[in-house]
């Protein structure tokens, strides 16, 4: 039974190692958890979440903290995998010192872990989940980015009125967010008089789009609408160019707004249209303070999603202040009652379903740079 001995000794070691991990309950701090894809396909976004939240917490603590207490952060890497997000949710809710959770990045991750936060009664504040079914799903779930129900009419209007496009082919990533996004674009585009002549999807992780692009091209659309994240969009654009297909316009949702799109996609993404509710070159003083601060700390320009994460932590701190307590229920109520909070990404007022309604501006990639269109 030597092998069993080894097993038991190892178990004892693990137990010992783990008792040290027990939660440290320091009454002078407020413990916040962050779930984000620090590694994996969406590492770019997750790292920016972490940076923005850490930057925000440092600012808040430097100004005296919230209710006289310093903010303390625990970070969990969800790798963009809903299963990991669920694991992290279980981990956070089993720690009684954690007041609220910020995250995750993708709607899929947020929706997968939602039942756990709901069961335990912990705030789940997502900076970027734009799926229409996310925030309404639980009274503990909040999202500040604005849902696709409000973003896509803007894109549809751009397509029909400004660009005068009659037909569009749609390529979307087949997950919760992609399906939701393309649904709203489709509805609004056709409502405005256009016609979606072809729709194709792909699964996360797919890298070979030549066949699917060829199929879309066969329907002869005026434009191509790509509902996906910037990394996939870069690959798609390059393969589209290789096929020699240059439609009148290429459009996509706000997920594409990132300097990485241009870095990865190069020339192939020139002329691409998207929309944002945050623009790094906006001359507004607070935005510039954030951008310069971020650049000084991390040597990188923040994108839309980074700004949303920054807004999240400040909004949460504000809600705690308004609640006047660190009781989970009270903070939740204060958060839900948020009216006209001036975030960098626009004014935040939560609807009864805990979504925020934002306003959007059109951007276009011109000569390797995003520019605001009037």
């Amino acid at each position: 039974m030597r092998s069993s001995m080894i097993a038991f000794i190892s178990a004892a070691l693990a137990t010992g190692g783990f008792s040290a991990w027990a939660a440290k309950a320091d009454p002078n701090t407020i413990h916040i958890a962050l779930t984000a894809p620090i590694t994996g396909d969406y590492a770019e976004y997750g790292t920016n979440f972490k940076r923005s939240v850490e930057m925000g917490i440092d600012e808040i603590n430097a100004a005296g903290g919230v209710l006289g207490k310093k903010l303390v952060l625990s970070v969990g890497d969800s790798k963009g995998d809903p299963k990991e997000s669920v694991n992290l949710a279980e981990k956070w809710i089993s720690d009684p010192t954690i007041l609220a959770e910020i995250g995750d990045f993708t709607s899929s991750c947020c929706m997968a872990s939602q039942p756990i936060y709901n069961r335990a009664g912990m705030i789940q504040l997502s900076p970027t989940a734009s799926h229409t079914k996310f925030a309404p799903g639980s009274k503990w779930s909040f999202s500040i980015v604005g849902t696709q129900a409000y973003e896509q009419p803007v894109m549809a209007a751009l397509a029909t009125q400004k660009l005068k496009l009659k037909t569009v082919a749609v390529l979307y990533i087949n997950n919760d967010w992609g399906a939701d996004t393309q649904k709203f674009f489709h509805e609004n585009f056709e409502k405005d008089g256009g016609k979606v002549v072809a729709t194709e999807s792909f699964f996360q992780g797919e890298k070979d789009f030549t066949a699917v692009l060829t199929k879309l091209r066969a329907s002869n659309p005026d434009a191509l609408y790509i509902a996906t994240m910037f990394n996939d969009c870069a690959t798609i654009s390059q393969q589209r160019e290789k096929l020699g297909w240059n439609p009148k316009a290429v459009l996509g949702p706000s997920s594409l707004y990132s300097p990485q799109l241009i870095k990865l996609g190069g020339d192939s993404v020139n002329g691409l249209y998207s929309n944002v509710s945050f623009f790094a070159k906006d001359p507004d003083k607070r935005i510039q303070a954030y951008v310069t601060g971020f650049q000084k700390l991390y040597n990188d320009t923040p994108n839309f999603h980074a700004a949303l994460a920054y807004d999240s932590i400040h909004l949460l701190a504000d809600a705690i202040k308004r609640a006047g307590s660190v009781d989970r229920d009270k903070v939740r109520d204060a958060l839900a009652a948020t009216k006209n909070y001036q975030g960098l990404t626009g004014a935040i007022t939560f609807t009864p379903d805990r979504d925020a309604i934002k306003s959007y501006k059109i951007v276009k990639v011109v000569n390797g740079d995003f520019q605001l269109m009037q």
Partner: protein
């Protein structure tokens, strides 16, 4: 768009065909499969990427790097999974290569991260247009390189002494060793060559899809194996036929069936052929 999909299929088929040849080489010699060939392909892709990023943005240099990395990979796998396992039932070697497959993939994830890396856009402009179907220079070059490689292999196997040695050992391992041939060295060579080919294809694929990521080897390996079984794993012409046929079938199926089921068709072909015609299209209809 039938023609365009066909052209896409031929380009992709070149990749499948070369990987299938890699599998055929080892099978023909030892009646064994190197499960980790897909990961060797992935190693080659990363080697090419490293070279392009740090040494020289030249496709040729990248291809050589992939070839070399693949050669090294194949050599190591032969030594550990096959030579050290002489005398143990073959299944153990296969399981060892399964271990290698996972080991290599996880090592790449640990070393390079799971995010997809890109290659600079080589030769992406359109070469010519045939009746509304676009052929890019890259596709032309890929098919050309693949054909050159196949011809080179033919020359190697039928016009050189080394090739003769490989064919002899493939024909009858035991007799060859009894006749005093350095069977070990021939085996090592074949494995290394098989790996080198896989690594070479890895660079090609990295450029074609412009995507390099640790799990790229799994699907490529499985599809390459499918192509080999499909066309006939016992012969190189079989591997080539299987590769091109599979490439065309896959791309045409996207056109006419839902794109999500593309791989389903490929894997079904694999299972069906394993069950009913394991010698493939070109193989004799004997029990394998």
């Amino acid at each position: 768009m039938f023609l365009q999909q066909l052209i896409n299929g031929l380009a992709q088929g070149s990749l499948f065909a070369l990987i299938a040849i890699s599998f055929s080489l080892v099978w023909g010699l030892l009646k064994m499969v190197n499960f980790a060939l897909g990961e060797v392909y992935m190693l080659g892709a990363y080697a090419g990427w490293l070279v392009v990023a740090h040494v020289s943005p030249n496709l040729g240099v990248a291809l050589v790097a992939g070839f070399a990395a693949g050669w090294a990979g194949g050599w190591i796998i032969e030594k550990v999974a096959f030579k050290a396992m002489r005398g143990v039932p073959h299944i153990a070697s296969l399981v060892c290569t399964i271990g290698f497959s996972f080991f290599l993939k996880e090592t790449a994830t640990w070393m390079f991260g799971a995010e997809t890396k890109g290659m600079p856009a080589f030769y992406s402009r359109t070469a010519c247009t045939i009746a509304s179907a676009n052929v890019s220079w890259l596709q032309v070059i890929m098919v050309a390189i693949a054909v050159v490689m196949m011809v080179a292999l033919q020359v190697l196997f039928y016009r050189t002494r080394i090739g003769l040695a490989v064919r002899t050992v493939a024909m009858d391992y035991r007799t060859a060793s009894l006749m005093g041939m350095k069977v070990d060295k021939v085996t090592s060579l074949a494995f290394s060559l098989s790996g080198a080919l896989a690594g070479f294809v890895g660079v090609l694929a990295a450029v074609y899809y412009n995507a390099i990521y640790p799990s790229m080897g799994f699907v490529a390996g499985l599809k390459g194996f499918t192509a080999a079984v499909f066309g006939g794993i016992t012969s190189i012409p079989g591997a080539i036929l299987g590769g091109y046929l599979l490439g065309c079938i896959e791309n045409l199926s996207v056109q006419f069936v839902a794109s999500g089921y593309r791989d389903f068709i490929t894997y079904s072909i694999l299972i069906l052929f394993l069950l009913f015609r394991p010698n493939g299209i070109l193989g004799k209809k004997t029990k394998l």
